[in-house]
């Protein structure tokens, strides 16, 4: 008797929490995914230690493979909270990668190599240029959206087409031979594993979380997404904040580009970063951020990214064919938004 009542009240409490805190529901879904994934991975190991190593290696793989989109999704979170959208992230990634490649590649086509600058100075110049280009593309997006009042969807759709097309045209003849030393940026082993990309992701998430919660800029982004008119009438420079959000997104894409070039040692201009915009939006939405702006969190986006990543891994482990996995991704995005809707109603 008392057992059932206790159960009920536990369920009720869980339901209350589910409704009041979107992170709770997201976290719960992630926990469920991790349990299923652990079961799917199996316990067919000679010892506990061996199991733990296998489990850990699987996790490192998951995290490393998703670090790139993960970082892009952090910027996307700010964009979406501000009430916008950034479709240009994937193409910005190749454009930035191309600039990096032109500067640092080891062939004579590499500008810096040709100028006799190699090694660390060349890498620094390359990275700075990459960041500058990422921010510049973000600035153009931001200007078109905030100042010229072009819908974010259209402005960034245009930028998406332009960046990839121009990059592919001009990079046909440029080699993609990245100096070996550059690869250290992503591939230096820590504790015997390549986890640097994961650490970069984590670091970026922590910094952006603090920006979103603790800085005037971060709070202004929420205010604009929730009620742009009220934000303007509170003396917030709405145009500036809106534009900065796209600059931030461009900056994070540039960082991702550097990490990925250093990780793989090359760049495929036709395919690199393609679909990143949709994957990043999916992570943001699954993480509980509202597409209409004003609501959401960096922590949610990280959890959302993990849910999608772990689910992908799970589907892989249980042998769902790759073509079908995208369907599951689509399903979970729609389901996440449906659940959030339900929260709002009740």
């Amino acid at each position: 008797m008392s057992e059932t009542r206790k159960k009920e009240s536990f369920l009720r409490r869980a339901a209350d929490k589910w409704q009041s805190n979107p992170l709770f529901s997201t976290g719960l879904v992630l926990a469920l995914m991790v349990i299923l994934q652990t079961i799917a991975l199996g316990f067919n190991y000679p010892s506990f230690g061996a199991w733990l190593t296998g489990w850990g290696k699987n996790w490192i793989n998951i995290l490393r493979n998703n670090a790139g989109v993960g970082i892009v999704a952090l910027g996307m979170t700010f964009v979406i909270i501000s009430g916008g959208i950034d479709l240009a992230v994937g193409s910005t990634l190749v454009a930035v990668g191309a600039v990096l490649m032109v500067l640092i590649n080891g062939n004579p086509t590499g500008i810096l190599t040709a100028a006799g600058i190699t090694g660390l100075p060349a890498f620094l110049i390359g990275i700075l240029a990459a960041v500058a280009v990422g921010c510049a593309i973000g600035t153009i997006n931001g200007f078109l959206i905030a100042r010229s009042k072009i819908p974010a969807f259209i402005a960034t759709l245009g930028m998406m087409k332009i960046c990839r097309s121009v990059t592919q045209q001009f990079m046909q003849t440029v080699g993609t031979k990245v100096p070996r030393e550059f690869l250290a940026i992503s591939n230096t082993k820590i504790g015997g594993e390549i986890i640097l990309p994961i650490l970069y992701w984590l670091l970026a998430a922590v910094i952006l979380h603090i920006i979103s919660r603790k800085t005037p800029f971060g709070r202004h982004v929420y205010a604009i997404g929730s009620n742009e008119r009220a934000a303007r009438l509170s003396g917030i420079n709405v145009e500036r904040v809106k534009a900065l959000v796209y600059v931030l997104s461009g900056l994070l894409v540039a960082i991702t580009a550097v990490i990925q070039v250093a990780r793989i040692g090359s760049m495929d201009y036709a395919n690199a970063g393609s679909g990143y915009e949709m994957d990043a939006i999916a992570a943001v939405v699954v993480g509980g951020t509202s597409m209409s702006g004003g609501k959401g969190s960096i922590v949610g986006t990280v959890l959302g990214m993990l849910i999608i990543a772990v689910m992908n891994n799970l589907l892989n482990l249980v042998g769902v064919p790759p073509f079908l996995r995208e369907a599951f991704k689509g399903f979970i995005v729609v389901a996440a938004v449906l659940l959030q809707k339900k929260e709002k109603v009740s």
Binding site: I210, K214, T215, P216, R219, H220, Y222, A223, G225, S226, N227, R229, A230, A231, R232, L233, S234, G235, I236, N237, G294, K295
Partner: protein
Amino acid sequence: MNVSMKGIVKSFGANNVLRQVDFSLHAGEICALLGENGAGKSTLMNILGGVLQADRGQIFLDGKEVVFHSPAQSLHAGIAFIHQELNLINDLPVYENMFIGREIRRFGGLIDHKEELRQTRELFSRMDIDIDPTALVSSLDASYKQIVEISRALMMRASVIIMDEPTTSLTDPEIQRVFDMLRTLKKQNVGVIFISHKLREVMEICDSYVVLRDGVAVSGGRVADTSIAQLAHDMVGHDVRTEALARSEATGEAVLRLEGLTQEPYYRDVSLTVRAGEVLGVTGLLGDGRSELFRTVFGDLIRYEGSIYWLGKPVRIRSTRQALTLGIGYLPRNRKENAIIKDMNILDNGSIVTLEKNARFGLISRKKQLEEFDRQRQELQIKMQRPEDSITSLSGGNQQKVVLAKWLSAAPRLLILDNPTQGVDVGAKEEIYDIILRLAQKGVAVVVLSNEAQEIIRVCARALVMYHGSVRAEVSGDTMNETNIMRLATGG
């Protein structure tokens, strides 16, 4: 068609909006329906238009009793109600708008554009209307839109047209254009009920009038037999001066000075001075341009001509950010749309303008933020639970106080309050008046924008009355009474 309403009674709950109102209109007559906000004008017309049903009373059309259960029935009987928000589709041409919802169809169900166009042309020539029927509605100015809406009513064979404050958003030449249309209607024996606050226009265009006050028709008759002053008096109903609150006359330096400020079509050639420690009222009726004028001062409308002086120096205000930095605070009207950030909690709403001030090394100090907010909360006596609660959990009055708190924490030298007691209950109203006076005592220059003359009289030492974008007069002391303000605000 002659309209006659007899003994109309209507109440909403305990609120008796109409008590035994009689109203009549003859064919070819333009009758003004006058009264303050809440006098019952809209309710009476909504009953005639079939939107509401009377609790008691009868409606006669040409002597025959009718009962309307819906706007469609009323329209069918020949009564068209043209609301303030026009009901036109901007992206369709004029002639298609004339037949929206009642399209003329050919065999097969397709719209017969040719016939629609022909009928529209015919009506326009009969009414001397100079509009291209194929023009998009969006290309017309406000007066022509008004005329299209009237024409549509005629197309539906309306013989009585009710117009709810048709001139509020029009410029003077546009008003004349609409009046010409009304005169043509008169000649065609169509009756018009003209709901308005603008007594000068009433004197110009109307034949007869009815004044409603607190749900009773207090006066009525021929316009030729009355005067603007008499009508204003009838609308307000008393000459009593609402007791003015104690206020300091002592005024310091000129904080804000405007010279010949103009932004068409909102306001023109406005000059005024606001001094430290005074409460200046600005009042008028809907469409007088006062809100737009002070949105300019706060950097929200920036295409103005003329000069703004801040503390004696000329400034060009280009953004709300700049206004905030100068030391201007602005509490907008329509709290929900313009001031409340519904996804943020009470604390964030109450401190959104001071985040930078309370940040160290770029990070907001929560402690300072909370201290600041707590100070304002006590000062303003905001009733609330936790600062982390949603802003929407508060009552209207307390939400307004949170918005006030955010501006007080910014310590502005000039605080503009647009309709500060909108949607606020009586108790909170008095508290807000109290806060306004305390601010002035501390040397803040306060501007109160309000359409309630009583409110202005209660808190302001002097007030400007605006009419149609211009400052009509300054009132203070003996000239600051409701009748006088009403007379000036209505253009008299």
